[in-house]
Symmetry: C2
Subunit: 470 residues, 2 copies
């Protein structure tokens, strides 16, 4: 039953322009899903055009106890924007787009609807660099990126998205418009609400402006691809490289199942006889880059049966990265349903984690491939299946549970960058224990009516395992 | 009147060893001050030896409504550890010291009582690097450092202390022992309580273990000293350097009054005819370092009347840094009372901020010198006076207020790294507006009895200006 009656709709019309109010079934369906699972129809979709409109919508939602689900491009893999209790979808992808590069202070000031890759482009024009680069960056909005704190391959050297967000304008769950942080990297004036809101998955506020720190663009980069006869060797190589003093900009790993998928989909010259491949990119001053790539190459070559290919040209470099970027489309070919996880472990535990993942693969006879950002321990085990195959989905549910448990057992965490959403909420207590209650206290203190993105992150009573089958 | 009666003391004796309970007047006096102003006698000092002891003390404090003031080495410049309402000082400097370097995962796991410079030393032994380096790092504890988020000169290139804290063990204000974050750089499992607690000035929990991220140690560094005929030129030089793509590890600025103070105290070859000097250090690969220092040198030389000295040897490099480190002892010679501020502005506003500071200096006829971390906009205006000179202290109070206002007017912040404590609390509302209430809600939700470090950060009713005179 719709939560929006005629009276409330009339009040909404006083806040938002008519053509920014969507109520037709067809329109509502477009906002019922994201890149994860499940479909939930909202009662109404609003496309606010100013922070004042956002504020008024939230005040109204508080008055009538209507859930509000903020949404960017909906590339979430954990159900972040899904309107699971109906109510209002706040479509922030249509918020006015504004992107200012402040070269002197090395800042970008953007509205949440800006596509992340546009920030990369505009920064580069000024010789600057915005390192976070989630693989969805060509379609995802910066608002969604920062609220999930999704970061991509460069976390090891450059840190996560959080490290670049220094100021926010936010509409709180009770409709106040506030500012956090500012334009300086150093700021200890009170609690760090900026970093609390980054990664809060839309539970603590609707972001309406973001101040990002930029850095000078590295002058050069070089890339190599190394193949190994065992996952353990690849892990040892990674540790040796980091211990040698080299800090690569990217350190990506793919297991043999992943290599097979790519080569099956579009032959990219990846070695089919390898157990694992590692892609290493170093960036910085040219002389440093040359020396460091040679150093990485030597280390990789020291493992029996390993092979190393250093890209000699920009074209070769692009080919290597193309193979890496082919992973997602390639595995999508293996089946219509892709369960993409991002369990993260301390770097030294990567070989052990991959072994555990292969055991889980064999146990449940699932099409499970592993790739990810090995440098920062952020693996992406992907199970490819078909959601209409209920029997296999049930096995996938059990497998996902074991993946989470393996990550926690190895001193890691449920999620490195995809967020908790609805998919991982049941496992929160297991990882966090009492810490979860402290998080809840913040949510309750800021959002007493539980208006903003309700039903996410915190497990429902009795919820202890992930459910992929509806 | 003491808050600790015989019954409470008996209960304390069941928690903490007898020789870790200090009640003598002489002992209490040692814990009544920090590096800022004012003296406040606690009722008792406890030196817990385990997280369980900390937890039990806090539970007891909640039962009897006794304030608890955690304390490291008490180098705070904002009154962070001062027991302004009496009660218990929790002397964490005597907590068991433990420091483990996990080379493979590039982590340091430490207890809060470890002196920060020891982390530098132990990391370097493994070829690793912990960049944050507050000038007190030889005496301050890491616990105090992270709770104030004090960072020192390397914030521009390497980020602040917060960027290196990835996991905490914390006793909450209600006595629960929790863990936040973990051992991975990427972690989006729930709200980021780690970064909320870092910089929380001891209001949200007592930290009992810290996991720090380390990075490979840069192989080389080079340093130059440039003098300028105007502050505006020095600011322009800094902006040009950063726009050229060089990201120095340190970019320090001193105004002429600061130069005079150093040369008067201990002649260090600083140019007395300069309006400002800038010290630039670049680090990284040797070839890159050589090229970058040459680039910085060229840029600085392009300003009329400027002079540049590049350190040719490690000895020369040390001499330049010695002059910089001489600033604090030098200005202490100018008078017994040093009011050390850390107003921080967007980098491009530094020349304007320094001009405003010189106007304030002239207006109140105060001995005000300016130095600081120009690269990240974090200035340290210091007023040297004598707290027994009430008339001058009254002028200093007004001047400090104007300094804060100037920083806010220029889009900056009250504090870059010294914290709010009691000294800056009266100005919080001015900078933060409604945002302050959101911070308060967290404090109230986590610490309903207001047990932990009460009287700090949040302004008392009617408090609108700093009071340096008691």
């Amino acid at each position: 039953m719709s939560k929006i009656n005629e009276q409330i709709l009339n009040e909404i019309r006083k806040i938002v322009q008519n053509d920014r109010i969507l109520t037709k079934k067809g329109d509502l369906y477009s906002f019922s899903y994201d890149a994860s699972f499940g479909e939930y129809l909202p009662d109404i979709v609003l496309q606010p055009q100013s922070k004042e409109e956002v504020s008024k919508i939230i005040l109204l939602a508080n008055t009538y106890q209507i859930p509000v689900y903020p949404r960017g491009s909906a590339t979430s893999l954990s159900g972040g924007p899904l309107p699971i209790l109906g109510g209002i979808v706040l479509d922030m992808s249509q918020y006015p787009k504004s992107l200012t590069i402040d070269k002197e202070n090395m800042l970008a000031i953007v509205t949440p609807s800006v596509i992340t890759s546009r920030i990369h482009e505009e920064a580069e024009k000024e010789g600057l660099f915005y390192p976070p680069d989630p693989s969805s960056s060509n379609v995802s909005t910066i608002g969604g990126n920062i609220l999930e704190n999704s970061s991509g391959p460069k976390g090891l050297k450059y840190g996560t998205t959080k490290e670049y967000v220094i100021g926010l304008e936010v509409v709180t769950p009770t409709g106040d418009i506030i500012r956090t942080g500012g334009k300086t990297v150093k700021n200890v004036t009170g609690f760090d609400l900026t970093r609390l809101i980054v990664g809060s998955e839309g539970l603590l506020g609707v972001v309406t402006e973001i101040t990002l720190r930029l850095i000078p663009k590295p002058a050069h980069k070089m890339t190599l691809l190394a193949s190994f006869q065992s996952v353990v060797d690849s892990g040892k190589a990674i540790t040796s490289i980091l211990s040698s003093g080299v800090l690569p900009a990217a350190l990506e790993l793919m297991d043999k199942y992943c290599i097979e998928a790519v080569e099956h989909y579009q032959p990219s010259g990846l070695p089919l006889d390898a157990e694992a491949i590692v892609i290493i990119e170093v960036d910085g001053h040219e002389a440093a880059v040359r020396e460091e790539i040679a150093q990485c190459s030597e280390i990789c070559k020291s493992f029996p049966g390993s092979k190393v290919r250093v890209a000699k040209s920009e074209e070769e470099r692009a080919t290597i990265w193309k193979a890496r970027k082919m992973v997602s489309p390639a595995i999508t070919q293996l089946g219509p349903t892709k369960i993409s996880e991002d369990a993260t472990v301390p770097r030294s535990k990567i070989p052990e984690m991959i072994e555990k993942l292969h055991i889980i693969r064999d146990k449940y006879k699932l099409n499970l491939v592993v790739f990810g950002h090995a440098g920062d321990g952020n693996l992406h085990p992907n199970i490819i299946t078909d959601k209409r195959n209920i029997e296999e989905m049930k096995k996938a549910e059990l497998a996902v549970g074991e993946i989470f448990q393996a990550a926690i057992d190895l001193g890691g965490t449920l999620s490195g960058e995809h967020g908790i959403g609805i998919l991982k909420a049941p496992y929160m207590r297991k990882e966090l224990g009492l810490t979860l209650d402290l998080m809840k206290k913040i949510k309750e203190a800021w959002d007493p009516n539980n208006i903003l993105n309700p039903g996410k992150m915190f497990p429902q009573k009795g919820q202890t395992k992930v459910v992929l089958t509806q």
